[in-house]
């Protein structure tokens, strides 16, 4: 039996999907470009929110994003490979290199993971810039836009739909993972490492799997980035970008692991544009915004909205309550 709420919910969902699909036809190329950026940043946020489930905040998301972008760029230019073929390779490279680093960091706990993240973010960026092979600080370009048969993804509209494809794949995989029993064990680790290992969860292995999956999707997002930017510059993939990724997640609402990063990315992609603030104040503004959010919207924008909207519209994921949740015990190992 269908209740009225069910029907309204379906209706809201259908309208949302229709709007998302029609967007590039309702706006100009510049706004469409902003939406493409929103999707890119949103995907980075999804991968950050994913490792938060196991209690590991990563400061290197942009670096692995860069690994994906560079893998695709280099395979396309130096090996003349098709864009599509570079996708799985980018993901696997990111996982393989990540594994070598994290097998040292993850057994040593959250603090070491966090430190490694920052150091790696800087090191990978320098690798791209200083090693001749990667094209130097000026970056490396690809000339060829991805294409399937006659469909070439070179216009903003085409790229927008390509982005939707990537985003959809991210959302479906992350959703399926979090819903499964593996997801339950991941969330358990995020809440209490001690209790999780006492029920037989191999914390190191579960964290490793989680972080490597995140690495895979970060790299995929990097490949997508190459499809629309056609150039990879080391400066794009720096530590500051990784910090921005954290902002998206916190501003959107850290308890909403799927919608939160998207809302946060949307806000941070569009608000500065419309405020017409000069780029030189961006960091100051971001700092002020994040402080205000932590004070006044500790559950993020979605947490604030769901307090006001009908409860069925937004079902919060209960397991990460807010930034600085008081319920969590400190990590011990």
């Amino acid at each position: 039996m269908k209740t009225g709420t069910d029907i309204t919910k379906k209706l809201v969902f259908a309208v949302a999907v229709a709007v998302v699909l029609a967007l590039p036809w309702m706006t100009g190329p510049y706004t469409t470009q902003l939406f493409i950026l929103t999707m890119t940043y949103g995907m980075l946020g999804l991968s950050f929110a994913f490792t938060i489930r196991v209690g590991l905040p990563r400061f290197d998301s942009a670096a692995w994003w860069g690994v994906g972008a560079y893998t695709t760029a280099i395979l396309m230019t130096k090996a003349d490979m098709s864009f599509w073929l570079t996708l799985p390779i980018a993901g696997i490279v990111s996982m393989a290199v990540g594994f070598l680093i994290y097998r040292i960091a993850i057994p040593r706990g959250m603090m070491v993971f966090l430190m490694f993240g920052m150091v790696i973010a800087l090191a990978i960026q320098q690798l791209f810039g200083s090693v001749e092979f990667f094209g130097g600080w000026g970056g490396t370009e690809v000339i060829e836009a991805p294409a399937i048969g006659g469909l070439v993804f070179d216009g903003k509209r085409e790229l927008y739909y390509l982005g939707l494809g990537f985003l959809g794949f991210n959302l479906i995989c992350y959703y399926a993972l979090m819903r499964s029993r593996i997801g339950r064990s991941w969330n358990a680790i995020g809440q209490s490492v001690k209790l999780a290992s006492s029920v037989g969860i191999n914390v190191v292995r579960y964290r490793m799997a989680n972080v490597l999956i995140s690495n895979f999707f970060l790299a995929l997002t990097g490949s997508f980035y190459m499809a629309f930017s056609l150039v990879a510059v080391p400066a794009t993939f720096g530590l500051d970008k990784s910090l921005n990724v954290i902002m998206y997640v916190i501003i959107g609402g850290i308890a909403y692991s799927l919608l939160g990063p998207l809302v946060g990315a949307l806000i941070l992609a569009f608000v500065p544009e419309y405020m017409r603030v000069a780029a030189e104040y961006e960091s100051i503004i971001t700092a002020v915004v994040i402080i205000l959010v932590v004070i006044f919207l500790p559950e993020g924008v979605l947490g604030w909205v769901s307090g006001r909207a009908r409860p069925w519209l937004l079902r919060r994921r209960p397991w990460v309550r807010s930034v600085g949740s008081k319920n969590k015990e400190p990590e011990s190992g």
Binding site: A176, S192, P318
Partner: protein, 256 residues
């Protein structure tokens, strides 16, 4: 038949010997209590058995296998579950989800099936749910099954801690002060449950401060003080042991 044996087990923190030269065995199918004044090293013994901390010396043998150097999750997988002295729960999960998390080791459909949410995975989930509900029911938490663990009153949180341990389907259950902070009714119910857990064939190693509870349900008691064993015996023997009485002088009346 002894299920768990500690041989000359010691743990020191710098110059403090929290546990030293400790020897005792827990027989299969019994409730074995480990008692001693505050700071005697009881929780440390639990941490040693479960691998949370590494022994400085000695050997711990469980079910014929040396588990001294195993990691906590491996020891859990061998069949040792514990409830903690502090209330460790998955605070942001519902009661039922807490117990389901304890099912981590049981009845898995396999990673790929779980990811794809196949029929086999859904059926395994459904079975786990039913069994989790039984445990929740057994521990008297049926009415709270959908509450967030973090919102439960203290007594229920303690009961939930034990429920999670039971979900692991243990051979040996370690309970660290399970009735602490409970009111008398809750406490009596817990004692009754411990008895029923034992009657189902689970061996229980119990640390408890309330002498009334310990004397009531123990099949065997080991007393430690300053990390060393000072006595072992049946409840009636321990009650009248002069060394035990001496160790407890200065403790609160309930313990004396």
């Amino acid at each position: 038949m002894s299920l768990l044996t500690l041989e000359n087990v010691g743990k020191s923190y710098g110059r403090l010997e929290a546990v030293s030269g400790l020897e005792f065995s827990v027989d299969k199918g019994t409730v074995h209590s480990l008692i001693g004044p505050n700071g005697a090293g009881k929780t440390t013994v639990f941490n040693l058995i479960t691998g949370t901390i590494r022994a400085s010396c000695g050997r711990i043998v469980f079910d014929g296998e040396d588990i001294t150097r195993l990691e906590p999750h491996k020891i859990a997988q061998r069949g040792i579950a514990r409830s903690f002295q502090q209330t460790f729960l998955f605070m942001d999960y519902s009661v039922l989800d807490n117990v389901l998390t304890g099912f981590h080791m049981r009845d898995r459909a396999g990673v790929i099936r779980e990811f794809l949410h196949t029929r086999a995975a859904r059926e395994a989930d459904e079975r786990a749910r039913e069994q989790a509900l039984e445990i929740v029911d057994f521990m008297g938490l049926s009415e709270q099954k959908d509450e967030l663990a973090g919102n439960l009153p203290h007594g229920h949180q303690r009961a939930l801690g034990v429920s999670i341990a039971l979900a692991c389907d243990p051979t040996l259950l370690l309970m660290d002060e399970p009735v602490t902070g409970m009111n008398p009714t809750e406490s009596n119910e817990m004692v009754e449950r411990i008895r029923r857990i034992r009657d189902r064939g689970v061996t229980v190693l119990l640390v408890e401060h309330s002498m009334r509870v310990v004397m009531d349900i123990s099949d065997m008691i080991t007393v430690i003080s300053y990390g060393k064993k000072i006595a072992q015996g049946l409840p009636d023997e321990i009650k009248h042991d002069p060394q035990v009485i001496e160790a407890y002088i200065g403790e609160d009346t309930d313990a004396a």
